[in-house]
Symmetry: C2
Subunit: 110 residues, 2 copies
């Protein structure tokens, strides 16, 4: 359920607040109330961001009594890495200086 096209996870990372949350989680499991102390956002806002992070597959939530512990989900990040690798790896990066034409504009139709 965290498949989609991968853009959801990138969009999750594309929010400064969420990126900082992930940095805080990088050192290990952290509960919501602790996150709330290190940030300058309201509790509903934090809850919203955590939901986004969990839905995007980057974070897992574990209920422990009244608290909820959040931790990074390595599989989610591996998927991101894979997407980036697929973009950069195959590369037929040769700019093809020779031809003065350009794109495939000419002779594209049937």
């Amino acid at each position: 359920m965290d498949k989609q096209d991968g853009s959801a996870a990138f969009r999750a990372l594309g929010e400064p607040v969420r990126l900082r949350i992930l940095q805080l989680l990088a050192s290990g499991e952290v509960c919501g109330c602790d996150l709330l102390e290190d940030l300058t956002i309201s509790q509903p806002t934090l809850s919203h961001h955590m939901k986004v992070l969990v839905d995007s597959g980057l974070v897992v939530a574990r209920r422990r009594a009244v608290w909820v512990h959040y931790a990074l989900r390595s599989e989610g990040f591996e998927a991101l890495r894979r997407t980036i690798d697929e973009l950069t790896a195959p590369g037929a990066k040769a700019p093809e200086e020779a031809s003065g034409s350009c794109c495939s504009r000419k002779g594209r139709g049937t």
Copy 2:
């Protein structure tokens, strides 16, 4: 100029249309008009997205006569990889099952 905190580049990737553009660029340099043919967006919209991609440091634009050739910028993607690595690498991932307490709620002050 592509520094910031990295969230800009992730936000750029977090748009399905832009992600597809990057996939098209993965096979090599492509000019705007060719991109326009493979997408289902208007020309102003493409121009807007290309500006976002260039500003985020993921793409470079080279003018060749009337056309503009776009290509991936490896340095931008390396920065993304580095950010992801920093999030997952250090990990003190031990959940610490033992203590029934939870977070650091108790005894936080000096």
